[in-house]
């Protein structure tokens, strides 16, 4: 009998989403354990003592697998089903390179551009974010998804831009992207969020909006403080 799979996650987290989509695409049944990140459980702290973050994948009774993109690679390798990463080593390298770019260069400027108060600092982050979006637009190369016709690793890595962009912009009252801009990315967002496996683990938009609305003041305070310290 297959070993039980459990995923410790938190609402609205794009990192948890990556792990969930990977499991759905592979057809792996799992139990989702909801974590309250403001009051971390003993279970989470025991299984991820070093980073103390979600997602955490538990497969059978072996120690946990942590870090969302590592979980995606594990799910790809440990279970049968359609490949989540490309098969060719060079294509795999490109997927990993761009995922790293998104993680390290895109996420922070995007977050700052959305939540900061107006001013010079925000303008800088908006410029940077738009430059990054242009690179991702070019990367799509007219494909439906980053690696072609099927959802894969790089789409998950970029998922924060997909289902979270709209709700975040709405709650923050910010608009980074004009209605006619980045058409390939817009099509990608549509394709990604309507994919069957993806939409099975996307919370309804209204819930995401409500969730961010609840955290808005806290987030704005934190990002504005970060900028003032420099």
């Amino acid at each position: 009998m297959a070993k039980a799979v459990k995923l410790i996650g938190a609402f609205g987290s794009p990192f948890v989403h990556r792990a969930e989509v990977a499991l759905h695409l592979k057809g792996v049944p799992y139990e989702l354990i909801r974590e309250d990140l403001t009051n971390k459980s003993e279970l989470l702290l025991r299984h991820n003592p070093i980073h103390k973050t979600v997602p955490v994948l538990l497969h059978g009774d072996r120690p946990a697998i942590c870090e969302s993109l590592l979980i995606v690679e594990y799910v790809d390798e440990a279970f049968d089903g359609p490949p989540l990463l490309p098969v060719d080593p060079y294509d795999r390298a490109m997927a990993r390179f761009w995922a790293q770019f998104i993680e390290q260069k895109c996420s922070m400027p995007f977050w700052m551009a959305v939540w900061l108060d107006d001013g010079e600092a925000r303008e800088g982050f908006v410029r940077e974010t738009r430059a990054n979006l242009a690179l991702l637009e070019a990367r799509l190369q007219g494909n439906r998804f980053f690696a072609g016709d099927a959802v894969g690793y790089l789409d998950f890595a970029a998922c924060g831009l997909a289902h979270l962009l709209g709700p975040i912009e709405e709650v923050a009252g910010a608009s980074l992207v004009g209605a006619a801009e980045f058409p390939a990315l817009r099509r990608w967002v549509e394709a990604y969020t309507s994919d069957e496996a993806v939409s099975a683990c996307l919370p309804p938009r209204e819930q995401l909006v409500a969730n961010f609305a609840g955290k808005k003041d806290k987030i704005k305070m934190a990002v504005n403080a970060m900028v003032q310290r420099s």
């Binding site: 946990a64 870090e67 979980i71 594990y74 390798e77 060079y90 390298a93 990993r96 390179f97």
Partner: protein
């Protein structure tokens, strides 16, 4: 016929070292193209326009950037001893987890502790030592020569900046990261790494490396002060 392999790298760069050591461990012949990072070549800027850094691996006409992406590519594209374990679980929990730890959790405080002074330095030394304790615990629990087994692999390459730079830490930073009798498993791992045949064959001469960092010291000190202000 096999496609030619070239590595664009810089002397003293721990990132270049990761890629070079991976090629040596796999037994892949390659040509090393030396890059002067103060005067970047048109070749580098064309092949790595996004980050403009070394290393860049050229395999035939394919260019791969980012040292850890390169290491994984080398493992997957060429035959030779595997740099990651076979079993998916071990790949995820041991090899990739500890590579991620070395790259994302340890490197920042290590680098900041190296180049900062005074109170800020003390804070990062403390953080680096906490990470050393975690590393020590893992090495002791696992009981193998290297981070994911008995041969040099992906997480060791990710953390190779430690074996490369530990000796000169005190001289460069003015402070000590660990006492002589502290973290014995980490010390042993450093020793094993530096004695590995494939690694040794591409290790920059220690005096050259130390001289390189002495020259760069003021520049790096200025850079980290600016980074700290931005946080």
């Amino acid at each position: 016929m096999a496609e030619p392999v070239k590595l664009i790298g810089a002397v003293g760069s721990p990132f270049t070292h990761r890629a070079e050591a991976a090629l040596r461990l796999k037994g892949v012949p390659y040509e090393l193209i030396h890059e002067d990072l103060d005067n970047k070549s048109e070749l580098l800027l064309r092949l790595n326009p996004l980050n403009k850094t070394v290393p860049v691996l050229l395999h035939g006409d394919r260019a791969i950037c980012e040292s850890l992406v390169i290491v994984q590519y080398i493992d997957e594209a060429f035959d030779g001893p595997p740099l990651l374990p076979e079993e998916p679980y071990d790949r995820a929990t041991t090899a990739r987890f500890w590579a991620h730890f070395m790259e994302h959790k340890f490197s920042m405080p290590f680098w900041m502790a190296l180049w900062l002074d005074g109170e800020p330095q003390k804070g990062f030394v403390r953080e680096a030592r906490e990470n050393l304790a975690l590393l020590e615990e893992h090495l002791q629990a696992q009981g193998k020569k290297f981070l994911a087994g008995d041969s040099v692999g992906y997480p060791d390459l990710a953390g190779s900046y430690i074996p490369l730079m530990l000796d000169m830490f005190k001289e460069l930073s003015g402070t000590s990261l660990m006492g002589d009798d502290e973290y014995p498993a980490v010390r042993q791992w450093v020793k094993e790494y530096n004695s590995d045949e494939a690694v040794k064959s591409c290790l920059t001469n220690k005096e050259q490396l130390a001289a390189y960092f002495r020259v760069k010291k003021d520049k790096y000190k200025m850079m980290v002060k600016a980074m700290l202000k931005q946080q």
